[in-house]
């Protein structure tokens, strides 16, 4: 069973504020789910490689140029900032990042 401290540590890593009820509920539910994973504890996996994706494709690169002629890439800050909570001209506002 995950402790209250563990849940609050995970929540802080995940940057989510949980209510007390949520912390209790997730503590129990996550413990049950982790319990389910016990079945993989004893599998022998020496010399087995990891698969993080199945295409085998690696290092795909393309030229660093703006291609907006077909309208696929947003044309400018006006398009890009239409959903932004707080802006000033074309700048995104946030609370102070570095405290003096």
């Amino acid at each position: 069973m995950l402790s209250k401290e563990e849940i609050s540590h995970i929540a802080s890593l995940a940057k989510i504020e949980l209510t007390n009820d949520e912390a209790l509920l997730f503590g129990e539910q996550l413990s049950n789910i982790l319990n389910l994973f016990k079945e993989i504890d004893d599998i022998k996996l020496d010399n087995i490689e990891e698969t993080s994706q199945i295409t085998g494709i690696s290092n795909v690169v393309f030229a660093d140029e703006v291609k907006s002629e077909d309208g696929r890439i947003p044309s400018g800050p006006k398009d890009n900032l239409q959903n932004t909570p707080k802006i000033e001209d074309t700048k995104i506002l946030t609370p102070k990042v570095i405290e003096r």
Partner: protein, 495 residues
């Protein structure tokens, strides 16, 4: 003639071509149907009425000039609200993205529009595609058209219900662990999960990037191939797309005679509803009767696939959902308050904006990736993923007498009741047990209507899953067209 909204893409396309109907007739018929039944089914989150009518008129104009683009020109379809549509609200059925207006189209949406398809609306889903019942939508619960007390499956439940209830001719869904196939099965429509990388993910709100695929839900396998013809192919904007372009134009059924179909015994063991099993075995008998060879195989590592999936998927979810920070877009605690510190802006925005299932998955994913647990869970899951993939490689290895296709059930039970599993995440996760092993292996799979089981108050659909080898999408669809001709399940729900 049957009402226009009941037509398949193929039928409607032929009628449009012969100028016997107009696209406007077709689109208006679909909206009329939506007005009649969606109050009960609740498949749509948003209707694009004006835009669709405008596009239909443009399509009719092209047709009258003899300039029809292709078989999707003038055809009304829907799109899961996980795909960005330029200028049209896209929410992932989540509160955190409520009101979000994309500034660009997903590649799939762009391709559909260029093919002349008409998007009538955005369909409901479990928020961020997290779920198997569409009950996790932050806005509404979609009902199964076959029994309005039951769930349509998920996460593409709105798409499956909309196709089953004739509220569009076909739809676009996404599948990370069964989200196209399971709702297709529970609603008696065709749901195709292409090979990983066959269809661009650009502009699709990310769930688990190494597992996510986009694909069609349709009334027939032939219609699914018409949709694939439009949406598949490499995309510079998604570097994980498969480089070779597969041609899905005018696919014809292939003969089942001599094809080898394998039944993995792990998928027919404990946990499966006996009635569901009977429906699948009856279909298997029919395949045998038409000359298909049936063999039994074992996929020994697949029994770990559920654990592997529920480690890898939340890990990727926790990473992908970090972008919802309340700073750039989406729900923000900062909109109404100026006194927040940066950290509070993040934690409050995310705490208020995400629903329970998203939080649960972010927490689980963060845990399995955290120091001290990474090796025990995440790294181990990646290794077992290799074993699962090897199982499928071996099953399809022709040089070792492997099969052409693997057949399994899609879901261990027919559609369950609304509320039955919504408070028990593990029970909900277990309902994906036959679909999740496919995504870590990246292979293509389809859900085809296979029959029905009788329940006290209703008759509930059962789908059969047919799995092909990696990149063998075209042959899987050709075989599916033949299988659908053989199984002949074409009943409609009574709404």
């Amino acid at each position: 003639m049957k009402p226009l909204y009941q037509l398949t893409i193929k039928e409607a396309s032929d009628l449009l071509e012969e100028k016997k109907i107009s696209s406007l007739d077709l689109v208006e018929s679909v909206f009329k149907r939506i007005d009649q039944v969606d109050e009960k089914v609740k498949a749509y989150l948003l209707l694009n009425r004006d835009g669709a009518i405008k596009s239909a008129k443009l399509s009719d104009e092209r047709i009258s000039r003899g300039k029809r683009i292709g078989r999707l020109d003038g055809i009304p379809i829907s799109v899961k609200d996980l795909l960005c549509t330029k200028g049209i609200e896209t929410t992932a059925a989540s509160n955190i993205l409520k009101g979000f207006i994309p500034s660009y189209n997903a590649t799939v949406v762009e391709k559909l529009e260029r093919a002349g398809a008409i998007i009538v609306g955005k369909t409901n889903l479990d928020a961020f595609a997290h779920g198997s019942s569409t009950e996790n939508s932050d806005f509404q619960v979609t009902k199964n058209p076959w029994d309005l007390n039951r769930i349509p499956g998920g996460s593409s439940g709105g798409s499956a219900a909309a196709v089953a209830a004739d509220m569009c001719l076909a739809s676009i869904g996404t599948d990370t662990g069964g989200s196209i196939r399971q709702p297709a099965s529970l609603c008696s429509v065709v749901g195709f999960k292409p090979s990983y990388g066959r269809v661009s993910r650009y502009g699709v709100i990310a769930m688990a990037s190494s597992l996510d695929v986009v694909g069609p839900l349709a009334k027939t396998a032939e219609d699914a191939s018409i949709m694939m013809d439009a949406i598949s192919g490499p995309d510079d904007l998604d570097p994980t797309t498969i480089k070779e372009n597969e041609n899905f134009t005018n696919l014809k059924p292939i003969s089942l005679k001599g094809l080898k179909f394998a039944l993995p015994r792990e998928f027919f063991a404990k946990g499966i509803d006996e009635d569901v099993k009977s429906v699948i075995m009856k279909a298997v008998d029919d395949i045998k009767g038409s000359g298909g060879e049936i063999v039994e195989i074992s996929l020994p590592s697949v029994k770990y696939a559920l654990s592997v999936y529920y480690i890898i998927q939340p890990a990727e979810v926790s990473s992908n959902l970090q972008r919802y920070d309340g700073v750039r877009y989406g729900h923000s605690a900062y909109r109404d308050r100026n006194d927040l510190k940066l950290e509070e802006l993040y934690t409050n925005s995310r705490g208020q904006g995400f629903g329970k299932e998203a939080k649960r998955r972010i927490m689980l994913g963060t845990y399995v990736l955290s120091a001290g647990y990474y090796d025990a869970y995440y790294k181990k899951a990646l290794k077992i993923r290799t074993l699962v993939k090897n199982d499928f490689d071996k099953a399809f290895d022709k040089s070792a007498g492997g099969a052409d296709f693997v057949i399994t059930p899609v879901s261990p039970t027919p559609a369950f009741k609304v509320g039955e599993k919504s408070n028990d995440p593990i029970q909900m996760y277990l309902s994906d047990i036959y679909t999740v092993p496919i995504n870590p292996a990246g292979v293509p799979a389809i859900s085809l209507p296979a029959g029905f089981v009788e329940r006290v108050t209703s008759k509930l659909p059962v789908g059969m899953q047919v799995i092909g080898s990696f990149k063998d999408d075209k042959r899987l669809l050709e075989a599916s067209i033949a299988l659908q001709d053989l199984l002949k399940i074409d009943e409609k729900p009574n709404l």
